[in-house]
Structure formats: structure tokens, C-alpha cells
Subunit: 445 residues, 2 copies
């Protein structure tokens, strides 16, 4: 497709727009929630649907690969040219939990198009075109990819590639196309604190025995110091510091803090002292409480000391942080925060490594050129605050990882009323149509 | 009944035991949960059942008194003697929330007798005998009696009494009959902290906006200092200090801390420095988190910054503390703990005042004598850590409040598998049979 004129690409896309959107909607209807065991069958169904659709599209190879968890999909479409570079596109087919009562205006698993936006859980994903490439689409990204690295190691030969395209990032905004150069890693844990064997009367016992909800709250309160820095000893060890060049590139972006706050649906910025909002979300590690619960949460009151309390914590990591060391550091720190009479259990999910792409890699320049051609605008650089298993691909396959994604912050990833801007989705498809030709035209190895 | 011999009382009770237990079971079947609006009809039904039963028992007057909330029951049975003192017995007919899934081994609203214990929500209440007295049985004690004081003020004349017996306390243990001389007061509140308008992605926004679950946790963590003292400014103002005599009386009780811990189903003691366990629960004020909730609490993880978090806090108060001042102090303190970008709402329930009975009141000596006769043992003194509207009765009616209750700590008030020891229940009934005669035989005014 290297010599296909832009107009031909656009005509093709217009002709196939309706069929493509129908396929996308059919896929989004499958509630492939990897975090909830009751949806295991749906995640499997999502993989099978995708493999069948890829075969129908023309991929000579499209297989469902089992793992110890949810299955992944692998597909391959060799180039006619023996010397063409090999590109592996990574994506995922699982989604975050979603329920109407969370605040969705439409059924999260019934895709609904309103004003050129398609609303559905998982809508803010990207579809790859079927040209000259390998596809790997896993099913546990939203559950921290617990079996992904093992799968990649096991299938190292079939996955071998000269570059890896990760289609799980976003761009700056509808008006500012950008290429992402790094993602944060993730370590997360659930902690249950147990006090009395059952809820006990706070009048008869309160004030004389430890309260597990108080202990859970104290752990959360102690996570950060007054400067918003994480207090877990060793947390910042080994971090690759932000360079002045990177900080300058970030500062050049047309960042409108008030607009960003509206997108975040929040009412103030705040975080680690000494860093800008963009630096905080892209290039600094964090500790966040994703959930807390214990005791009576119904209407009215109930004067009890609760039997237990639970925390869900997650830590975003940046280049230089090792998730395994972070897990040990958090475990050691928690152990020092639990008083006599409180028992606890802590469970970590599978970690995701952080990654960072060299700014000067030739394949990154191909991405920038293809994107500029589709969007007809200059392309800038960002990082992504979210996490994905890109670093595992880089480690195991020894290939540089490039990020190409067209979703925008207002899409509401993981939140109620998640959607995709259809115009951007088609510009993304157009970018990949140009990208394969650009990559084939130069040495990227 | 002042001249009824003990043997006649016991024979009467044995003959009526089965009928009495059948009545009690019928009453306990009514899920009169005042904290849950869906049970409002049941609380009304409980009041009507009780009034009908009292009329059937012989009370010439037995009325259901409406309030702005749940109804109370009033009954009156005048003595034949013009000069007899008037005694008002206070109780309540509402119960705490209960559900099988909380850990009950039996249906909480289907009374079940096992080994001489009757298990049911509200089983650890007491029934008053029908002699020479007024009865007032309210329906919102478990919801902090929001309309009780207004009712007592409105019905001041019909409730007039020389002494008030409050049947809502317990005694030391099965083997050690005791009379309680004070109860703690209670102020409680619910606080909702709101951050983003909806749950947002912790990778895209986490670390750069305030997290309402973190704010809620920090409030809980800041409630106590390292000595376990409540940090809310002004919290301890005006407290009547524990005297050396009271501390000595407490210290004389056969307190077995390990046994107490088993009853508390807890694994360590702990609380305000410088006080014993009994002092902490009877004579010192506390702050307790009864419930906390925010963000994702399902299986697996969900990498979000939650939209909101909720706290349920309660404060036990001792003599000298004014619940209205405590509410203002807590409101002022919370206002200083909420950072920019977090909005909050705080709602207080109706407060309960603390109270303390003079050790040397002649009516208290009558209670001690009657109890000693029924239990055939010396009677000691305690306080109660729980709360009830006794102080309102003392204030409005100008009569001393005496506590008479036979439930024991292992009964599990407010917890799953709440029960009453039937032997103690009948000793309590016997005590009241002697008490009216003892009170009538001496001046208590």
C-alpha cells in the first residue's frame, strides 16, 4: 500500500465505513470484562468473534491462543516482499467493568451512536487494518495482563518483529495529533484488614479494641507526605529522571488546565510538589486508592466496630522502577502499619512494567510522517499516564515499541459513557494505511 | 406485691413461662428496624402489637403515641394506694438492622431457642411486669431517638414520675449481678466527600487531582492522636472527670481481660492512653468509624479515582459533654480537613445525652435490694458504654434515672446472632416483682 494515493485510501474508507462500524458495534456488544469471573465466557466469545472476523477480512492465519487466563488472538498476513520489515501490532479485546447504575446514559454493552460518537465500554479502542503485519490481541489487559509475558515468551518465534506497534494509547486532543513515547507501569494490590470476628457494638466495645476501618484509613492517609510524595521506603529508587528537554517538550503543548479539569470532571489539580500536571500524570509515579470499604454503608447509621475493612491500592510506575521491587517495598511497609489485634491479607495483581521509546528511532519518525499525512497537521510528542504490557514486548522480542492511538481524553476510558470519536477513528485507520508503506520504504532494523 | 413471698413469685413465673416466651417470640418476629425506611410499617406494627398485648395483660391504659417518626407506646396501671410512688419504666421496641448474610446462624427475625438462649434481633431487650407503674416504649432508640425528647416534653404531665427505670442496660455477667449508674451519650454523622463527577481513569488523571477516598481516609486517620485521644478541638471540654472512688469501684470488679476480649471477638485491647479497658468503654468519650466506603469494592481491581467516598462516624460522650457543642466542634474540624476540589456534605443524626446516677439515691438502693433478692448474690456497680435517651427523661421529668437490665455482654447486641439468656430474663422479671414493693415501702421523693 506504499504507493496508494491518499485519495484512494479515503475513498476506500468511505465505502467501507458502514460495514466497519457494524462490525465494531457487534464486537462492543460482548461484555468482555476480564476482571469479573462471571464474564470469563464473554471474554472467550470476544476472542473467537475477533479471530473469525480477521479470517473473513483476509488474514491467512488467525488463531485463538489459550493462556492460563483469558485467551489472546494472533493473526498474520505476510507481505509479498521477502525483504519487507515485520510489524507486530498489539491490542487487547477485554474491557473494564461497567454497569448502567455507574452513571451510563446508555447501555454500556449496547453501542449507541450520538453526534458522531459511539458510546460503549471499550469503544475507546482502535482497530488495525489488515496489511503486511502480525496482530496480537490479548484478553486480560484490563486485569493487568497476568499471563501475557508467559505467552509472549512461549510464542517468541511466531511473534518476532522489527517493530511493535501498540494501539492502546491516546493523543493530545481532537485538534492536536501526537505520538506517545512512554507509558507508566502498574502494580496493584488488595488488602483486607480484620479486627473482631464479627461487627461488634461500638458502645460496649468501641474505644477499647482496634477498629480495622481506622487501620485501613491510616494506611491510606500515610501513603503520601505533605508534598504529595509517596512515603513507602525505596519507592523512588532507580527512577530515570525527567530531562530538561522532555520537560520543555511537555511545556510546549497547548495545555489548558481548566479544560483538562473539565475533562477530568474534577474541581482542582493537586499532587506531587514541584511538578506540573502533565509531568505528574505522564512522568511521575503515584499511589492511588481505587476503593475502600468497611462496616455499615447503608442508609441511616449503625453503631458498630466493623469486623473488617478492605483497600484497593494501585501504584503507577515510571521508567527505572521495577514492579517486583515495588511489591516487596509495599508489603514491607504495610507490615509496619498494622497494630496488634488486626490481621491482614495482601494480594498483588500481575504487574505491568513502565516503558519509554527513544525519541530518535527511525520507526518513530515513520509513525510521525504517516500520522501527519492522515491528520494534515504537525505531530507532537506526549507520554501516557496509563499502563499496558508494552515493556514486556520490548524486553522479550528485542524490538522497539511505538505507540499509535487516536482516542482522546474526553473519551472517558474506564468510566461511564465511554465513547470513541468516529472521525478520529477513521483518521487512525488512514494513518496505519500510510504507515506500512513508510516503514517498508526504509531500514528500521 | 410488696408482701408476696419469693416462692409465690417464682411459682407464678414458672406457670406463665411458656405463654410469656410465646409472646416474646411473636414480638421479636416483627422486623422493627427504625434505621431502614422500608421497615417503617413494621415499627408501627410492633407498637400496635405491644399496646394490644399490654391491654390483654391488664393495663387499663395502653396507647400508641404518634411522633414525627416512629410511634411510641404508653401504658399506665395505677396503684390502689393513693400515696404510692409513681415509677416510669422506659424501654424501646425498635431494633438494629439485621440480615442473614451478616453472619447470623438463624433468621434474625425468627426467634430460635437453643440451649436456654433465644436468638433474634432485639432479643437482648427486657420486658417489664405489669404492676403499679407507667410504661413508655419508644420506637426510634436504635435511630438515636430523634423525636423522643419532643414527645416527653409534650406528654410531661402524663409521664410524671418519682423515679424512672430504664430497662436498656446490661449487667456484668451471668454470675455477677450489677446495677449500672451511667450511660454514655452519642453523636453521629454521615459525611460524603465528592471529587470527580464520575469515576475517572487513574492512569490518565491519578496523581494530579484530589481523590475523595484519600480525603475520607485522612479524616479518619486524623481523628485520634498517638495516645488514642480524639483530636477534634474542644472535644474534651467540660467533662466530669472520673473520681478515684469510681476508678477503685471499677477496679474491684472481677475483670478478666482475656475473657472480655473473647466476648468482644477481638484480638487486642487498645485505646486512650492512661485508662483501663473498663474506664475506656464506660467513662471516656470516643470517636469511632462505623463505616467507610468509596470507589470499587468488587472482585479484582479497577484503576479509577473514585467519584466519592462516604464515612459514618460516631462519638460516645460522657457526663459533662454537650452533644450540640460536639456537633459544632466536629463540623468546624471537618471543614478544615477538606482540600480544594473536594466538596462534602455532613449530616448529624439526633444526639443522645450522656447521664450519670447519684450512687447514694434511696431508689438506687431499692434496685440493689430487689436484685440481690432475685439473684441471691451481692450486687455491684457498673456503668454502660452504650447510649440511650435516659438523660432526656431526667431533664424533662425531674426524676432520678435508675438502670435495671439483665442482658450480658455475650448477648451480642446489634451484632449477628443476638440472643438473650432465658434464666437471666426470668431473674430480671423476678427483680421487678420485688422492686415495686421495695419502692412503695419507703420515701423516694
Amino acid at each position: 500500500m506504499s504507493d496508494t494515493p491518499d485519495s484512494a485510501v479515503r475513498t476506500y474508507m468511505e465505502e467501507h465505513r458502514t460495514a466497519f462500524l457494524a462490525d465494531l458495534a457487534e464486537w462492543l456488544r460482548i461484555p468482555s470484562v476480564s476482571a469479573q469471573p462471571e464474564h470469563a465466557q464473554d471474554v472467550r466469545r470476544s476472542a473467537e468473534w475477533l479471530a473469525a472476523k480477521l479470517r473473513e477480512t483476509g488474514f491467512p492465519v488467525a488463531e485463538v491462543w489459550p493462556t492460563d487466563g483469558a485467551p489472546a488472538v494472533f493473526a498474520e498476513w505476510p507481505s509479498g516482499d521477502q525483504d519487507a520489515p515485520t510489524v507486530l501490532v498489539y491490542g487487547h479485546h477485554d474491557v473494564q467493568p461497567a454497569a448502567r447504575e455507574d452513571g451510563w446514559h446508555t447501555d454500556p454493552f449496547e453501542p449507541t451512536t450520538i453526534d458522531g460518537r459511539m458510546y460503549a465500554r471499550g469503544a475507546a479502542g482502535r482497530n488495525a487494518p489488515a496489511v503486511n503485519l502480525k496482530l496480537l490481541v490479548e484478553g486480560e489487559e484490563e486485569s493487568s495482563s497476568p499471563h501475557f509475558r508467559a505467552l509472549v515468551e512461549q510464542q517468541r518465534e511466531r511473534l518476532a518483529a522489527d517493530a511493535v506497534i501498540v494501539s492502546d494509547t491516546g493523543m493530545w486532543s481532537e485538534d492536536t495529533p501526537t505520538v506517545c513515547t512512554g507509558m507508566r507501569g502498574l502494580a496493584d494490590c488488595g488488602i483486607t484488614f480484620r479486627g473482631p470476628d464479627q461487627d461488634i457494638h461500638s458502645g460496649s466495645f468501641g474505644g477499647a479494641v482496634p477498629n480495622p476501618a481506622t487501620v485501613a484509613a491510616r494506611v491510606v492517609a500515610a501513603l503520601h507526605d505533605e508534598d504529595g510524595r509517596v512515603t513507602v521506603p525505596g519507592f523512588y529508587d532507580g527512577i530515570v529522571p525527567l530531562t530538561d528537554q522532555e520537560r520543555a517538550l511537555f511545556a510546549e503543548l497547548p495545555f489548558d488546565e481548566e479544560g483538562w479539569l473539565r475533562t477530568a470532571k474534577s474541581y482542582a489539580t493537586g499532587g506531587e510538589a514541584g511538578y506540573s500536571t502533565l509531568e505528574r500524570i505522564w512522568a511521575r509515579p503515584t499511589a492511588e486508592v481505587n476503593g475502600i470499604g468497611g462496616g455499615y454503608q447503608g442508609p441511616g447509621g449503625k453503631t458498630i466496630v466493623p469486623a473488617s475493612a478492605e483497600l484497593k491500592l494501585s501504584f503507577r510506575l515510571v521508567a527505572g522502577q521495577d514492579p517486583d521491587k515495588i511489591e516487596l517495598a509495599v508489603r514491607d511497609w504495610i507490615a509496619t502499619r498494622v497494630p496488634a489485634g488486626i490481621r491482614y491479607e495482601i494480594t498483588f495483581g500481575a504487574a505491568t512494567r513502565p516503558c519509554l521509546t527513544p525519541l530518535d528511532h527511525p520507526a518513530l519518525q515513520s509513525v510521525v510522517r504517516a500520522m501527519g499525512r492522515a491528520f494534515e497537521q504537525p505531530v507532537r510528542f506526549t507520554r501516557e499516564g496509563g499502563s499496558g504490557p508494552a515493556a514486556d514486548l520490548q524486553d522479550v522480542l528485542g524490538a522497539p515499541v511505538l505507540f499509535l492511538g487516536i482516542s482522546v481524553p474526553s473519551d472517558g476510558w474506564h468510566a461511564p459513557n465511554e465513547k470513541v470519536e468516529l472521525d478520529l477513528l477513521f483518521k487512525g485507520v488512514e494513518t496505519t494505511a500510510y504507515l506500512w508503506g513508510d516503514l517498508a520504504a526504509q531500514p528500521i532494523r
